[in-house]
């Protein structure tokens, strides 16, 4: 069973501990131009996770602050992995979607394909690589929670089997009316390992809510399966046509000769 993380956005206090833990565990440099927390925080090649500060209106119309942790969602059927033509992205059975730099060609199709624009690129490097959160896969393989999850002082996260977490999330939002009736990640692009619950509608928090419920690789699977057959059939048809039309021309030439004779 794949592991996942349940994020309860109502509990986040915006301390940013998780972003620090991420930097330390993954040995990522700090970047003064791109802070990991605040209103303008954004994912970059060095920031694998950030906490965005959002001023929004709550149910009563009062302005409130919400803090949104962002990172790769680790899709159940990741578009990035199905897009990569060199297998540099692979989904593990434990859940994380990981990146193998030595396989990467740098075509950046993964970046274009990811519905949430997660993979980032080292634009200033001579030989740049793609980067993104890997859900601390070495920890997850051992059954431990990712670095960010294990340091949260506010109890925002729960790490465990995704299906269990989903059940729990459902019961939380059923019991407590403050939550919106939507678990982000349950069905988005076929489901993701990271699940979010919130008291403010997700689109107001910058989540991409208008994504398909279908798994993205399913859009290309049928196409890719059909290709060899189309190729072979087309080859047979062409060869047939080649001989047929050649012979037809020959016959019509012979006929012309006969008529003239």
């Amino acid at each position: 069973m794949s592991k996942g993380v349940l994020v309860d956005l109502t509990k986040c206090v915006g301390c940013g501990s998780c972003t620090v833990a991420c930097k330390l565990w993954n040995d990522n440099k700090w970047d003064d131009k791109n802070p990991t927390m605040g209103p303008s925080a954004k994912l970059t090649d060095k920031n694998w996770t950030v906490v965005q500060f959002k001023e929004v209106k709550d149910k009563k119309g009062e302005p409130v602050w919400r803090f949104v942790k962002q990172q790769c969602f680790h899709c159940k059927e990741p578009a990035c992995a199905s897009a990569c033509f060199a297998k540099a992205f692979q989904k593990t059975k434990e859940g994380p979607v990981i990146y193998y730099p030595h396989l990467c060609v740098g075509c950046r199709y993964c970046m274009v394909a990811c519905p949430f624009n997660v993979p980032k690129y080292q634009w200033e490097k001579a030989f740049p690589l793609v980067t993104k959160c890997m859900m601390c896969n070495t920890k997850v393989e051992k059954g431990e929670a990712p670095a960010c999850v294990s340091v949260c002082p506010a109890g925002v996260f729960k790490f465990g089997d995704r299906e269990e977490l989903l059940k729990e999330a459902k019961s939380i939002i059923a019991k407590d009316s403050k939550y919106v009736k939507h678990i982000f990640g349950e069905n988005e692009v076929g489901g993701t390992e990271w699940l979010y619950i919130s008291d403010v509608p997700f689109d107001q928090l910058g989540f991409k809510t208008n994504v398909t419920k279908r798994s993205l690789p399913s859009y290309t699977e049928a196409y890719m399966h059909a290709t060899p057959f189309v190729g072979i059939t087309w080859g047979v048809i062409l060869t047939g046509l080649y001989h047929y039309t050649k012979r037809r021309n020959q016959i019509s030439k012979d006929n012309n000769k006969n008529i003239k004779a």
Binding site: A113, N117, V211, T220, Y223, N249
Partner: protein
């Protein structure tokens, strides 16, 4: 020209235009070297929001489509044996070969780990549509070089000529299968972008639209090319030949248009095209000037004139270029939230690649038997 081909000396006329093209190529080569050494960040305006820009959009997607004239002509002339179209076969295939070499160059430039370019040959990401594009484009370029061997051995390495000649039918057929597959795969790349590409362009059958348009743009490119070559070398392909050829385009374009309308209606986004948004207007320009007007020209008397043929060719080619750029850039602006304008260096490199292509074309036409055929002596008119 025949005498050129027999003469042992290589010839290359110098004209002011060619000097200019050479300069442009030289500058582009400089930028290319700089980019390969320093990475993509300093030379391009690409960013995390715009991982794909002009080089993929123009050099690769447009290049491949415009080079599609080769496989269409090969199909018509060598498989269907419509000997009638023979006078254009060689030049169409040459343009196509040059086109593909440029596409390979463009791709190579655009990848970050360029020394790793061979990786997908051993690490099979076969679920990726790009995997198919990669294999097909590599194989097809090889096949085209071999096909060109038949022409080249008329002049150099003549002892191999008969081998190439014998291999030609097989090469031709392989050389039609590959492009059929990857022309559509280039569109197939965008199947994944269902929530990113504007619905006027995204479609579950976008690969089929790419295939159709790469097919009908072939004859259009041939019209443009033969007009230019006609001016430059005083070699004129007979009007009826070209007219018949673009009729084939015309019918495919009508089918394309109907299919497009059906597709938009069935997805319930037909109305979007009149919504007055930037995307809608770009889409209308593409459809009206790239498809509808050319169809009218194609089936009217205007197509019986050189001007008409040239206009047709130009409109259709530009229409397809616009379509590809709409998919890569315009259709993605809304989902990325920012827009992208290529840097001056990106433009210079793209222009430089085209310049190199033109120079290569001129050189080969002047030194090999491309434009003239035994059965069409003295067709100049």
């Amino acid at each position: 020209m025949a005498s050129h081909a027999q003469a042992q000396k290589w010839s290359f006329k110098m004209t002011p235009t060619r000097v200019l093209l050479m300069l442009l190529s030289a500058v582009a080569v400089g930028v290319i070297v700089f980019r390969l050494v320093t990475g993509l960040g300093m030379v391009t305006n690409l960013s995390d929001e715009w991982p794909w820009g002009l080089w993929i959009g123009f050099d690769v997607l447009c290049g491949v489509a415009l080079a599609g004239g080769g496989y269409g002509t090969a199909l018509i002339v060598h498989v269907l044996h419509k000997e009638y179209f023979h006078p254009i076969a060689r030049s169409a295939m040459l343009t196509s070969l040059i086109g593909y070499l440029l596409v390979m160059a463009g791709l190579f430039l655009d990848i970050g780990q360029w020394f790793n370019f061979w990786r997908p040959f051993v690490s099979w990401g076969h679920s990726s549509v790009l995997f198919e594009v990669f294999w097909c484009v590599s194989c097809y370029t090889t096949v085209q070089i071999l096909e060109f061997g038949e022409i080249a051995t008329e002049r150099i390495g003549t002892q191999f000529h008969s081998i190439f000649k014998k291999a030609l039918p097989v090469l031709m057929i392989i050389g039609i299968i590959f492009p059929t597959l990857h022309q559509s795969s280039l569109g197939g790349l965008y199947l994944l972008m269902v929530d990113k590409l504007y619905p006027l362009w995204w479609s579950p059958i976008i690969f089929f639209f790419f295939l159709l348009s790469s097919f009908f743009v072939g004859p259009a490119m041939i019209c443009v090319e033969t007009t230019l070559a006609g001016k430059a070398y005083d070699h004129w392909v007979p009007i009826p030949v070209l007219q018949k050829l673009i009729r084939i385009s015309g019918f495919v374009m009508i089918f394309y248009l109907l299919l497009k309308i059906y597709d938009l209606v069935s997805r319930g986004v037909f109305g979007l095209m009149f919504s007055g948004t930037f995307e809608a207007n770009m889409f209308l320009i593409e459809m009206i000037f790239g498809i509808i007007v050319p169809i009218i020209i194609c089936f009217s008397g205007f197509s019986a004139t050189r001007k008409g043929l040239f206009t047709f060719g130009l409109l259709v080619s530009c229409g397809v270029v616009l379509n590809r750029m709409n998919v890569v850039v315009i259709g993605m602006i809304r989902s990325t939230g920012v827009s992208y304008v290529p840097s001056i260096w990106e433009f210079i490199v793209s222009a430089g690649l085209v310049a190199m292509g033109v120079l290569a074309y001129c050189f080969i036409v002047e030194n090999f038997k491309i434009l003239e055929h035994d059965d069409h002596h003295g067709q100049a008119a």
